[in-house]
Symmetry: C3
Subunit: 249 residues, 3 copies
Amino acid sequence: MNKIHSTAIISKSAIIGENVSIGAFSIVHDDVIIGNNSVIESYCELGVKNKFCSDRPLTIGNQSHIRSHSVFYSDSVFGDGLITGHRVTVREKTNAGLGFQLGTLGDVQGHCDIGDFVKCHSNVHIGNKSKIGNYVWIFPYVVLTNDPHPPSEVLLGCEISDFAVIATMSVILPGVKVASDTLIGAGSIVGKNVEAGWVVAGNPAKPICEIIKIKLKDGTGRNAYPWRSHFHRGYPLETVEKWLLEFDI
Amino acid sequence: MNKIHSTAIISKSAIIGENVSIGAFSIVHDDVIIGNNSVIESYCELGVKNKFCSDRPLTIGNQSHIRSHSVFYSDSVFGDGLITGHRVTVREKTNAGLGFQLGTLGDVQGHCDIGDFVKCHSNVHIGNKSKIGNYVWIFPYVVLTNDPHPPSEVLLGCEISDFAVIATMSVILPGVKVASDTLIGAGSIVGKNVEAGWVVAGNPAKPICEIIKIKLKDGTGRNAYPWRSHFHRGYPLETVEKWLLEFDI
Amino acid sequence: MNKIHSTAIISKSAIIGENVSIGAFSIVHDDVIIGNNSVIESYCELGVKNKFCSDRPLTIGNQSHIRSHSVFYSDSVFGDGLITGHRVTVREKTNAGLGFQLGTLGDVQGHCDIGDFVKCHSNVHIGNKSKIGNYVWIFPYVVLTNDPHPPSEVLLGCEISDFAVIATMSVILPGVKVASDTLIGAGSIVGKNVEAGWVVAGNPAKPICEIIKIKLKDGTGRNAYPWRSHFHRGYPLETVEKWLLEFDI
């Protein structure tokens, strides 16, 4: 049984799943597909079209939750369990896997490929043509860029691999590849590729140490990275079990 | 006499003071208390609940002004004279004193303690569990963080003491204590505690000089800090009189 | 023939041009002039007044497009071809020329002078009293400041000259003058004037090289700067022809 607020404006061609709630003053355009058990809060606009959109609809997976004042363009696909903060903007031609989280004020510029269980905190800016793997963490005020000498017609999207962590207020410069199991320290300006298993930091960012050198500040003396050795909240049970085996816990 | 716009959606259990104005398309949920003489502009949603909220209502003090497109969760208390810019987000379990100002796009993550007359300019991000004293200034694109090795379950909120000033685009790293009468220069990444009366700057931030070394660029040759020796706009008369006595003006 | 959505709230004193579209739940106050062939998307509020506004209306030029959730105050004038992203805020007493672009989450604090064809990407903060020339580019999370020793009553706006490019996450400190044909590298904290034809970068920003030393990464070996030698998308034909002559192309 759906709960569509009486002030919401829903296109008759939109395809709304079962047990979906849509808040006051929200707008759902044509060519929008919303999965079962999803919540769309108030003042959201879904399925905005521009000249770059193909006929492909906006698809929102099951068990999703889009918080208020958010805008999603058409021609993008999100797997089950999409969770957003308030006022996110997601442009066209972006594909994200399962469990994508995009915090308040997040801005995904479109034409991006995003894997499973990527978590972006508040106010993250993902530039056009970014490629992001699985289980990546991106913290507030991080910017993924794409133009090596702006303004130009050359767009080199960033590539961020599995389990990478990008801390607050960092910039990944155009075309930079951040390998798996890496940590970008807060306030880093990253102009060179980052090798797997390394921490970089600074402006310009330089290698600091291997990630296994960082210990958890919880009194246990355990390694803080790879973070999947100790941080499991919000991931599927079968994934966590794999991680526990990997680290022999 | 209240002025509630006809398109606003107001819960019958909300407690609205006298002479309150609520703009078009705004939503006020249950368990919201709005003080007298307050203005809630358009497209605001007050009293949003999530699983972290207790039964405590959202309380907004008298003479408050919340600008358009803002979102406040339940279970937080704001003293009189709360002023916000547009599109602020304030999560649950935050307490702020008198005269809290939070500029456009401000994002307070919840579980914060904020003193009296704290002024945050646009686009400030206050992480979970931050503690902020009285008369603190925080400028645009500042982030107060809390996780020493993200992602983890260890949360170390920052502590910012009275009269501290954090300039634009600075990051206060987890657990850092910024003492009273301090200035954090623009673009600082602050990983170590800041001593009272000092200026720090840089990435990573280092001590630069004592704040009394900085002179006002107004031709008078007076000290720029402590700023309360010369800047009084917007503070209560009795506070300003105390400051004048302190500096023997 | 105008298309005003039935839920929009339009003042009878607003002056709306021909062929204007206004989206759902938008509000247009008194003293607003909207040019012909313009689009105002949903949830926008135009003509907000505060105590700083004179009687001058908000004027939006022809062929403008203001995206959803945006807020414009009264007492500002924008030339033809204004284009905004979502959720921009533009305060009072700002004048911008032709073709001003202000990306999603842009925040113009008011009392600014902005020339022709200035393009701001997402999440740019233009402080009070900034002066920006023509053909300037400003990229995400850039802040133009104005208070040399915050908080104070001394406001020194920045001055950015024609064809300057300010890359992501840079701060221009109060009163700094950025000359023509300059590039501010990503993550720069710029405290000194920048000479014409130079690249600066770093925290604090230092001169790196002349801009003519940077080559395009498109395999042609051409100079990347001045960018008008190769980047012409979106500019008027007669302007581009002048640029082609200037560079003898």
